[in-house]
């Protein structure tokens, strides 16, 4: 069976990430700290605004959004740029290239195991706590199904962007700057740190035309929309699907061209 050779990597990833129990605990503690900062920051923002509703969102709307965005970030972020950069610098990439599968797939499936563990250890608990504490901010209905579909596509888009940026490391052989730059752009324009509703007008429009908002803003808007219209949801999913395909093709092509560069000119 063909899928088996990929799923075995997922399985390995799960076992591997379970070996580092302490690491998971540290991540959870770090998130709590981050969320505390977020809480006070936004409390101050709302206090200085003087109104209960800023840009169409109440304080609790914003907080719920940001808590869930953080939870999503924790399970989607695979530090692929970092991993690729390191593999390229250390030369480990030669071994990965000699596996009988495409490098792009090999890398994705190798890190898919940590998705699974992070999903159960960080996202799901946060999600349930938010659902329990807020009494009804999250509706349990068909929107959950769409949310799951949306998250799957978000994972794919996020990975493709990481892979594209990681490929640049083949040329630069340095990781730090590229990684930070990518992080800042993605975190801001995807709505992971500030809800896109808060952006000033031209930036908001720009953000909607970029792929990044499909990563965090799209699934969360499907999940948190109090009065969802099927058409809006389908439009969101449609846009995601477009970016999903576009980024995948782009990543694949760029990798192919870059790798050829390397195999021809040496590295």
């Amino acid at each position: 069976m063909k899928l088996k050779k990929y799923l075995t990597l997922t399985r390995a990833g799960i076992i591997e990430s379970l070996q580092f129990r302490l690491g998971t605990l540290v991540i959870i503690a770090g998130n709590l700290l981050y969320l505390i900062v977020v809480y006070f920051l936004w409390k101050a923002i709302y206090a200085s605004a003087g109104t209960d509703i800023v840009n169409g969102m109440t304080f609790s709307d914003t907080l719920i959004y940001l808590v869930l965005a953080t939870a999503l970030f924790n399970f989607m972020e695979m530090y692929i740029v970092w991993e690729m950069g390191r593999a390229i610098q250390s030369g480990k990439i030669t071994l990965d290239l000699l596996k009988p599968m495409e490098y792009r797939k090999h890398l994705f499936w190798s890190y898919s195991g940590s998705f699974v563990t992070q999903f159960f250890f960080t996202f799901l608990p946060t999600f349930l706590i938010v659902a329990a504490v807020t009494h009804g901010a999250i509706r349990f209905g068909w929107n959950l199904l769409f949310f799951v579909i949306s998250v799957v596509m978000a994972v794919s888009i996020n990975y493709s962007i990481d892979f594209l940026v990681g490929t640049i490391c083949l040329y630069t052989e340095s990781i730090w700057g590229i990684n930070i730059m990518k992080q800042v752009i993605v975190m801001l324009l995807s709505g992971a740190t500030i809800p896109i509703a808060f952006f000033p007008e031209p930036l908001k429009t720009i953000a909607y035309y970029l792929p990044f908002q499909s990563i965090y803003n799209a699934p969360l808007s499907i999940l948190l929309d109090g009065n969802p219209q099927l058409q809006t949801v389908l439009t969101t999913l449609g846009i995601q699907l477009f970016w999903c395909a576009a980024m995948m093709v782009l990543g694949k092509l760029f990798w192919k061209v870059s790798l050829r560069q390397i195999t021809v000119n040496g590295g």
């Binding site: 088996k4 050779k5 591997e16 070996q19 580092f20 030669t94 071994l95 009988p100 000119n265 040496g266």
Partner: protein
Amino acid sequence: MSNIIEIKNITKEFKVLNRREGLKGSIKDLFSRDYKIVRAVDNISMTIQQGEIVGYLGPNGAGKSTTIKMMTGILEPTSGEILVGGNVPYENRTKNAQEIGVVFGQRSQLWWALPLVESFKILKDIYGVSDKDYEDMLALYQSLVDIEPLLHKPVRQMSLGQRTLSDILAAFLHNPKIVFLDEPTIGLDVSMKAKIRTLIHALNQEKHTTVILTTHDMGDVDALCRRIVIIDKGKMLYDNDIEHLKNFFGSYRTLKIRIDGSLKQLAEEIDRKLSDFKVSADDEWISILVDEEKATVMEVLSRLQQSYKIRDMQLEEISTEEVIKKIYEEGVQ
């Protein structure tokens, strides 16, 4: 016997930026288009047959790794043809990967945090090895080395020797047609080296796997390879039997003598007297590399006895190591 690897006149050139010195130079380099072409592999041809163990030798930076990378499909030759198991490796890298196994002595392909057996299971699935073949292979491994205690040990807790051994087993797991071993015995102790040589030899015999071995350890070559290929500065220097190599370089023998006094000074003295031969000294012996076509060992010995009191002597056949060293230093005439 069929040819598993066919290489015809391959050349590989790299474009390297001409670096300038100092801070000013480094800043200029940022905008420089001043490249020079470095020829890492220069017009090499060879054919290797299924089941051979070939020692691929050369000093550091000779172009060995580049050739291996071309055979595995990671690099594309600048010119020339290369066929591995009927595939053009750089065009069908993924397909080629199914047919080859690789061990880079310095690097491990195993899953660091997991017990060895998990790595084996992953590799089994990745390469699509059937349950039966997998079981058979493990049974074979068990009969060759005692892997049972290793199987449940996380790779990160292994000693270097155990890890190398595991890596070699992992490379053979999917029964590839060719295994590339890049310095497999580097940094290992004597008994582990012997164990690994026995293992490679046994796997080659049992599975008829072609093995391409690069190494700097002539012990590996003597124990495993019948054929050796030597390259230096990208050019092929030698491709033939190891026996032939020794004859090719004439009948050299090393005469070792011990004389009272400062060996260093005496060696220099003797060197002046026997200008035809290479003389060197270590803490215990003075070694004279005698070319028996010019003078027999007995003649040399009797000449020396006229002027010195020889307390002890030893006679050594020339080792592969010395022949190789001679080739590296002087080339093939």
